[in-house]
């Protein structure tokens, strides 16, 4: 049994560019599961030989292995592949509804051509987000994780083969909306960007420190709504400083466009 989704085999599905279908909902709902079995962390190479032999000369066998070793190894493979091609890969994370896809739609329309932007979308189900990105004129691959709560490096490797981003381009990997689980899984990205929206409240960095600790950049989104919500930007910045002293904060609004030139410049500077 697949322990990730509880089905007979893995529930991960990958849709490449041109495979999204009409209205962003082209997969069957019968849960038929005729897919291949290659989700991670690391079932793809299950058949490989052990790295070295162990003599069972006692009842206890030392393993001394990082539990995430396999994902980390696959992430390093992704990173090497991306780096060799000069591709900037960004792992974009937030809770559901913080505005990841809306930000990417506007980024695709306003700066997509200049950045050579491509996107890997991660969601439990549907190709809705990929269709939105495609409609904004950007090449996109959709990963459906089934019951999975995060993307892992093997899923991203499959997304990379489906998408095949060009050398020197920017690839944004929109993770599954979740402020907890994605924090632990290296995908091979060069930078981690976490969205924190003003409608969620200012206490998110201190409530979800694991996620914000790893952030290179925090985008404070929906700032056009600041006059209408009770959000203390000073407290948000102070708390973030406690969790991640090096993280930069950038206030943006994908509705009005406020702050977006700085976001585009941030991406552009890192591709050189």
């Amino acid at each position: 049994m697949c322990a990730t989704c509880g089905c007979g085999v893995a529930g991960v599905r990958v849709f490449g560019p041109g495979q999204l279908g009409p209205a962003g909902h082209d997969h069957g709902t019968d849960h038929s599961h005729d897919h291949e079995h290659a989700h991670g962390p690391g079932q793809a190479d299950r058949g490989q030989a052990p790295s070295h032999e162990h003599g069972l000369d006692g009842r206890t066998v030392q393993i001394q292995q990082n539990i995430l070793a396999k994902n980390d190894r696959l992430a390093e493979d992704n990173r090497a592949w991306l780096t060799a091609r000069g591709i900037l890969a960004v792992n974009l994370m937030s809770s559901p509804g913080a505005g990841k896809t809306t930000l990417l739609e506007r980024t695709a329309r306003e700066a997509g051509a200049g950045l050579g932007l491509t996107v890997i979308e991660g969601d439990q189900e549907t190709t809705l987000d990929a269709s939105r990105i495609e409609a904004a004129g950007c090449a996109v691959a959709q990963i459906n994780t089934g019951a999975g709560c995060h993307l892992d490096a093997s899923m991203v490797a499959r997304g990379l083969s489906a998408l095949n981003p060009s050398p020197g381009s920017v690839l944004v990997i929109e993770n599954v909306g979740n402020l907890v689980c994605p924090a632990l899984f290296d995908l091979g990205e060069a930078a981690r960007v976490v969205l924190s929206s003003v409608t969620e409240g200012a206490d998110k960095p201190i409530k979800y420190p694991q996620m914000f600790r790893g952030a290179d950049l925090v985008l404070l989104t929906k700032v056009d709504l600041l006059p209408y919500v009770d959000f203390d930007t000073g407290r948000h910045a102070r708390d973030l400083k406690l969790i991640s002293p090096g993280a930069q904060i950038m206030p943006v609004s994908a509705t009005t466009g406020e702050g977006l030139p700085a976001w585009y410049a941030w991406l552009s500077e890192r591709t050189r």
Partner: protein, 109 residues
């Protein structure tokens, strides 16, 4: 619930290292700042080991405490919870211990 994938990773690592060997006990190290909840791993373990050589195995988890060093004043301290803040007021700290996420050893049947 990333602990399900984490626990699955444990089973895969053990079955790859010791194919076909029935396992009596698995010893893990899950630091208190690792971002993984030991109780959730215990909860997932029976489900994930079903039908494998680890089915019925005992799960032993040790949880190393967190230890940090302040990059500003050099003091070493044990942080209170997930937020590592030095008494000097600095949050710029190196985590020395508490982020472990390791399979230490297994006992074979």
């Amino acid at each position: 619930m990333h602990e399900l994938a984490i626990t699955e990773g444990v089973v895969q690592a053990v079955t790859e290292r010791l194919p076909g060997t029935p396992i009596a006990c698995v010893h893990l190290e899950i630091g208190v700042m690792s971002g993984v909840v030991a109780d959730s791993v215990r909860f997932c373990f029976d489900l994930v080991t079903e039908g494998t050589t680890l089915e019925g195995a005992r799960l032993d988890i040790i949880q190393p405490a967190a230890r940090c060093r302040c990059r500003d004043c050099g003091a070493e301290f044990e942080p209170d919870g997930m937020i590592a803040l030095c008494d000097c007021g600095s949050a710029d700290v190196a985590v020395l211990a508490g982020q472990e996420l390791r399979i230490r050893s297994v006992e074979v049947v």
